[in-house]
Symmetry: C2
Subunit: 348 residues, 2 copies
């Protein structure tokens, strides 16, 4: 196999850079690669497999020969550019949220609903980081004992707000430790040594867009309207890794031991659960890992059919870049994503 | 009134120092004060009302003339010393947890169950910081619409682990920012730029002691066995202020507007809730304040009788020192705490 012509739109930001890294590490069959930026780019060069590649401004004509285009940009840019890329016959894998609820775009987590890729029409959406780690961890349980309700509290790192947020948190921490004043830019308030219950814009119902999206995305991925989900999303002063305290009500009782046994064999999941030696998932330790880590699995003492657990994953890697590459890999394996027919042959 | 002979046991640690500050600020009627330490003290002096007072080792005979003794030490020291202090006729106000579940010791949050003080036998217990802020915020709602179930996720600051933890977090943050290695002592793992789902020792059921205690204490304070409570307690890299994401199921539906109206008039509570301008409680801002702050009050979209809210309070102040002083003040006001009879007159 010769490989695929790949483009990464948003190659200069955190997730784009992590996509580059995952493609390299997975020895993804790349015939050619374009690193694109939504803005004008003045010739900055980035590495791919030890080659220096100039970042170019993403323009529709650049997708002509592209087979697979990873998009990690803002929703409005995706909304404009992704359909143009797909029109050329490229398969777009987009994590911007622009197509989350579009009936013509499947929303895919390969461990959960790979078969939804089959009906893609050129664009496949990758969900929010928090949705991905939650459904990867809960799906193996949901398959054997359907979930009725989820109450979720998140502890989300700053990296999912982009590189400016990483810098803001680091600089603030330095200034605060020196006893100096800080001035927030990316976030509404100080994030260093503080926690902020605000991720995404606020909606009329008092939830944030992020809180509502996790619920909507999870139901869409699971193809059900029958799971009630209430989330509180909170930003914490952590660079990488999103943590979640999850309270789950199942259709019937399930013991922690049963759950551990099921999760121990689940794709993409690692169980870290030995309280006797303080062994549980932590964002600091999960940083850079491919897995969704689950621990503190225990009976919900407030509900007969409930379990409580603690889920952690690297939001940039498993929560974004890796999921996008896994979509491409799974699609290739099952022939839902391939080398594109030339436009000429398509038009014949 | 001449005032009371007061002792503070544990005067050198964070909560003891905060009790000193609250007594000064409230102009508590102090006739004399003793600052005591559970360990041998080599003459260190601390200020009270601009006077330098030598810290002495806490010994039973020192309580002879004490009317009110605030205890903020470990549970085993309280278990040994507090009954001896109470035997002299002093009223002990203890936050160690040693007497939480003792049927002869009332567990009191003055905004919630002041009347339990009436039957004290020399010792009154003050609950854990997380319990205090939760019940102060929820009690006004519980009174009008009895609570059935609470799912709680906490975001707890390091100060409730004592001054060594404050230092550990600060030093770790400095070292990590310099790219150097850290070695945890107070906590099992790194706390700077990380979150740890471990507060208190782990029990056989997978919960920690802290998680179980919040549930037990809340039910005891509310005098009911009919509230199911499941907590996940998490340490976050914040110096002062505990935050809570709280999902509450009431006996019947209650709207966010009704809840806000009730809480706006509640003792000890401040509602900070205007999402349009990112106005909500934060630990950084709550630090040093007497109030329990409540925000992000919204309908629980996963339950018809549910509300979700975000509660923040200064764990050292409202969560410990202030509650202890409020117990003394309320007790004095209602004549359940007073200047002690001399032992001679008691023995007559």
């Amino acid at each position: 196999m010769e490989g695929f012509n790949v483009a990464i739109v948003g190659a200069t930001d955190i997730v784009g850079q992590e996509i580059v890294k995952v493609l390299e590490q997975h020895k993804f069959p790349v015939a050619s690669i374009q690193l694109l930026s939504p803005q004008y780019s003045s010739g900055v060069k980035l590495l791919f497999n030890h080659q220096r590649i100039e970042v170019k401004e993403a323009k529709p004509e650049l997708f002509r020969d592209v087979d697979i285009a990873f998009f990690s940009v803002s929703a409005d840019i995706s909304r404009r550019l992704a359909p143009l890329a797909a029109e050329t016959g490229a398969v777009v894998i987009d994590d911007s949220g622009a197509f989350d609820m579009s009936s013509t775009v499947p929303l895919v987590v390969p461990e959960v609903n790979p078969e939804d890729m089959e009906w893609h029409k050129g664009i496949i959406a990758s969900p929010r980081c928090s949705t991905i780690e939650m459904v990867v961890a809960l799906h193996p349980l949901h398959k054997v004992n359907p979930i009725k309700r989820i109450v979720l509290s998140t502890y989300e790192s700053v990296s999912s707000s982009g590189s400016a947020a990483l810098k803001e948190m680091t600089n603030q921490a330095r200034l605060v430790l020196e006893g100096r004043r800080i001035c927030p830019h990316v976030y509404s308030h100080q994030i260093a040594f503080n926690v902020l219950p605000e991720i995404g814009v606020f909606l009329d119902n008092g939830y944030t867009r992020e809180e509502q999206r996790i619920a909507e995305q999870a139901r869409r991925i699971w193809h059900t309207e029958n799971i009630a989900i209430s989330a509180t999303c909170v930003r914490v002063p952590v660079w990488f890794g999103h943590s979640q305290a999850v309270t789950v009500e199942f259709g019937s009782p399930i013991t922690p031991d049963e759950a551990k046994k099921i999760l121990a064999q689940a794709a993409g999941v690692r169980v870290l659960d030995d309280p006797t030696v303080s062994f549980y998932p932590q964002p600091w330790a999960a940083s850079g890992s491919d897995h969704v880590f689950v621990g503190r699995i225990r009976k919900d003492v407030s509900h007969p059919n409930g379990l409580v657990m603690w889920i952690v994953a690297d939001n940039v890697r498993k929560g974004a870049a890796l999921n996008a590459v896994q979509i491409a890999e799974t699609g290739i394996e099952r022939d839902w994503v391939g080398v594109k027919q030339s436009l000429a042959s398509l038009n014949e």
